[in-house]
Symmetry: C2
Subunit: 199 residues, 2 copies
């Protein structure tokens, strides 16, 4: 009956990861401090050694996800030079993010997480807009290389890019995996390409 003690840094990350998982599987209502503590094997009050309150836990989750999203953009711009190819790869990475973290991206984009909390709401909007800006930049670059039609609005196309992924994430989650998100995105990509690419 020995109590295992972990250093703050480690526990903090462990808690954030568990919170992310709870949020993805059970929704915001499922993320109680009690449930969170149970899922990492400690007592609720112990969480407060690592986080000031629940707000800080949620902020950590949002931060973690923002890093993953923007990290994906960095990866594809390093892997490829061709804008349309970059977008195709980004789509695949985003799908993998969804499959890994269950439906957390769905949650991020659903806005459930911020309900009634204007401060985090703003941070969430900023995160999504940062991601959109990166996608728009890729599309703008595609226009410079004459791969994307010039009359296409990069901002509009970027939002539509999100639309390629998001509904499939929801359907995948709702159908408990029956709906194949990866396959859908694979099929939707040619449509998106047709929507923005030259000829």
């Amino acid at each position: 009956m020995s109590i295992e003690k972990l250093t703050n840094e480690v526990r903090r990350e462990q808690i954030a990861r568990a919170a992310l998982h709870l949020l993805a599987t059970q929704g915001l209502n499922g993320l109680s401090m009690a449930a969170l503590a149970r899922s990492v094997g400690i007592v609720p009050s112990a969480i407060y050694r690592h986080f000031r309150n629940k707000e800080e836990v949620l902020d950590a989750v949002v931060d973690a996800l923002r890093q993953r999203l923007l990290g994906n953009v960095r990866v594809v711009t390093e892997e490829s030079d061709e804008p349309l190819d970059q977008l195709r790869r980004l789509l695949a990475l985003h799908v993998r993010l969804i499959l890994e973290h269950h439906s957390l991206p769905r949650m991020l984009f659903s806005g459930e997480i911020y309900a009634g909390h204007p401060e985090r709401k703003a941070r969430l909007l900023a995160t999504i807009q940062a991601y959109l800006a990166e996608v728009a930049a890729i599309i703008r670059n595609g226009q410079a290389q004459e791969r994307v039609r010039p009359e296409v609005s990069p901002e509009t196309a970027a939002v539509l890019f999100l639309g390629v992924i998001q509904p499939s994430a929801i359907l995948w989650h709702l159908s408990e995996g029956t709906f194949d998100a990866a396959k859908h995105v694979e099929r939707a990509w040619p449509l998106f390409r047709q929507a923005i690419a030259v000829q």
Copy 2:
């Protein structure tokens, strides 16, 4: 200090409408029986004269929304014969639905409402799939009329159709109206059309 009494039918609808509004503005967490009762000017226990429990309230909300969604499809098929025109109109109606009911469709499609409740989860999936099937039917009809390219998968295109609307609904809600959903959809429509239509 006279207590106003309404007939079951009226009160039921009033409660369902208030629940819908609470859900749209505050999220699932904001929809407590206490808050719901307060918003219609009665005491929490009085709700149980009209609904067996909270489940039944949520079911009523989902039902109301399903009727609106499928009703929109019926409207556009009566208003127009040209499939692409039908889709354009359906898009506009869906946007109006979002603007009216704040972000309830966002919520429906986000899956927040069912978290941890498999029975309603299934009903929700069925609702969305019914809507998708209607959209796919329009697209299939478009292929028969040689307005939509034959190699396009109607099911995939229907999901992408959702993707035209959904992200904009979220951004509109997150940005507190700063992001103009109607304008985005207006601009995204030519892209979607380009994606599926014959040139």
